[in-house]
């Protein structure tokens, strides 16, 4: 079991958090949705796993490269 950091690729605001700690996620499954410049950008799990940490809250501003969640894969 390895811990995997989920990073954002863009600067934006956290619009919706779709998952909670403990949830199982599949590869490509959306964990949260960012909003930037009138666009919604999903942040998805890179591989199958379980969410062990969510490091942001709805409404937070995140910059590119921020670790927003961790999964155990």
């Amino acid at each position: 079991m390895a811990k995997v950091d989920i990073k954002t690729e863009i600067t934006g605001n956290v619009w919706k958090i779709e998952k909670a700690v403990g949830d199982k996620v599949g590869e490509e499954e959306v964990i949260l949705i960012l909003e930037s410049m009138k666009m919604e950008i999903p942040v998805s799990a890179p591989e199958d796993g379980a969410i062990i940490e969510i490091l942001v809250a709805e409404g937070d501003t995140v910059t590119e490269g921020t670790v927003v969640a961790r999964i155990e894969a």
Binding site: G12, N13, M37, K38
Partner: protein, 453 residues
């Protein structure tokens, strides 16, 4: 009318202030917390904060905007584009508050905002719409082939309950028609619980061409020719030009006449845009929608006609605009607008907000107009749209305008954020653009080459 509040931000707020000041009017800006020190606030005579950074908590709050007008004694509201500009309830609230609404009537905004209703009104006014058929329920295929002939090939079989491209199949000729319709019905039944489908003409190589119109509110209307806005990414325009390259005059004349008929029929008041999809091969054109506001790309029209569309809007609203006969609208030369966006073309045009460490638009260049709401040192926040500047170049002909746009973009220093500056230069330099072969699939079709340039 003495004082205008602009219910907007950025470049369009600055743009409206310029014309209203020239007409001797005072200006009021509104701003969100994220925009407190921005260029449009500085450009106004007075400014009022309307709330937190997210637009729905500030720029979209009708009561806050009306309070700002009351507080400053503004007697008219210009909505710009986006935000509340096509919100009929807002327009009505402005009028109910005893203020002058600089825009078409709430009724017109409502009608044109309802796509189905707009299509009906256009059809009734003799404006061609995309040919479509009635619905075909599963097992009820009587008259299908005749309907397909009437719509014309190639066509799309669309699920009545679908949307966003889901449940759509293309048919190029009669031989595959019945099979495709049956298959689409079955898929639609499973996916949407509704097996009904209809046919709609498909335009494989399409151009987006729009007519700038101006209605005097009394049933009289004129056009200010067309703009070609075919170069788009993510359904957003990137480069626009006037006039449209390579369209025969009989086509643009017919489009302009149709757009004017629509305005006459609705007794349209003020500036508006009638959008058409044009078949790039056959030049057939079909009504898409009407935008009941000033458009982002209005400068290209202003540069070839010498008219100030925003000043016309204001003068009409305050009752000081004399009727302008169609024959007085003439064009000279060609204009091209490039939208400079804070985005990363290599990452599917993802937004790239950040600080404008360097932001130096070219100065002292002939026949160039830069509309921007940013200055060096400003931060482009993630809260609003990614456009940081419009670079608009004019030339005696298209090639001269194109070369001036290239020079201007080369001379534009921008750093601190990623932008589409190189991408715009690649588009302007692409042989297909140079030859005028523009269509809505241009960026997707040439993506690899444009990104490598």
């Amino acid at each position: 009318m003495k004082k205008i509040l602009v219910a907007n931000r950025g470049e369009i707020a600055c743009r409206v202030f310029r014309s209203s000041r020239a007409l001797g009017l005072a200006n009021v800006a509104i701003y969100s917390d994220a925009d407190a020190d921005s260029a449009h606030v500085q450009a106004a005579d007075q400014s009022v904060g309307v709330g937190p950074a997210p637009a729905r908590e500030s720029y979209l709050r009708v009561e806050k905007v009306l309070d700002a007008a009351r507080e400053t004694g503004a007697d008219a509201i210009h909505p710009g584009y986006g935000f509340l500009s096509e919100n009929a309830e807002f327009a009505q609230s402005v009028i109910d508050a005893g203020l002058v609404w600089i825009g078409p009537s709430p009724e017109t905004i409502r009608q044109m905002g309802d796509k189905q209703r707009a299509r009906q009104i256009a059809e009734a006014a003799g404006v061609p719409v995309v040919p479509g058929s009635t619905r075909f329920e599963p097992g009820m295929l009587e008259g299908l082939e005749q309907a397909a002939e009437a719509v014309g090939y190639p066509l799309l079989v669309k699920a009545a309950g679908g949307g966003g491209g889901i449940g759509m199949r293309r048919v190029d000729g009669p031989d595959k028609l019945t099979d495709t319709v049956v298959a689409t019905q079955s898929m639609a039944q499973k996916s949407f619980g509704n097996g009904a489908v209809f046919l709609e003409r498909f335009v494989p190589k399409a151009r987006h061409v729009e007519i700038q119109v101006f209605g005097f509110g009394d049933g009289r209307a004129i056009h200010l020719f067309e703009r070609d806005c075919s170069l788009q990414r993510r359904f957003q325009k990137v480069i626009e030009e006037a006039r449209a390259p390579g369209l025969p005059p009989r086509v643009t004349d017919a489009m302009a006449a149709a757009a004017v008929r629509l305005c006459e029929a609705t007794r349209y008041s003020g500036a508006g845009t009638v959008e058409f999809i044009v078949d790039a091969e056959s030049f057939e054109f079909f009504f898409l929608e009407m935008n009941t506001r000033i458009q982002v790309e209005h400068p290209v029209t202003e540069m070839i006609t010498g008219r100030d569309l925003v000043a016309m809007q204001i003068e009409l609203a305050r009752g000081s605009l004399a009727f302008i006969p169609q024959a007085e609208i003439k064009t000279h030369g060609h204009a091209i607008e490039c939208r400079l966006y804070a985005e990363d073309p290599a990452k599917m045009f993802m937004p790239a907000p950040g600080p404008l460490a360097t932001f130096r638009p070219p100065v002292d260049m002939a026949h160039l107009r830069i509309d921007s709401g940013y200055r060096e040192g400003d931060v482009v926040t993630p809260f609003y749209d990614p456009m940081v500047a419009k670079v608009v170049a004019w030339g005696e002909d298209r090639e001269e305008a194109r070369r001036r746009a290239v020079e201007a973009l080369r001379a534009f220093s921008i750093d601190g954020i990623r932008s589409n500056r190189h991408f715009l230069l690649a588009c302007l330099g692409d042989e297909n653009f140079v030859s005028g072969d523009v269509h809505t699939g241009f960026i997707d079709a040439h993506r690899t080459r444009l990104l490598a340039a």
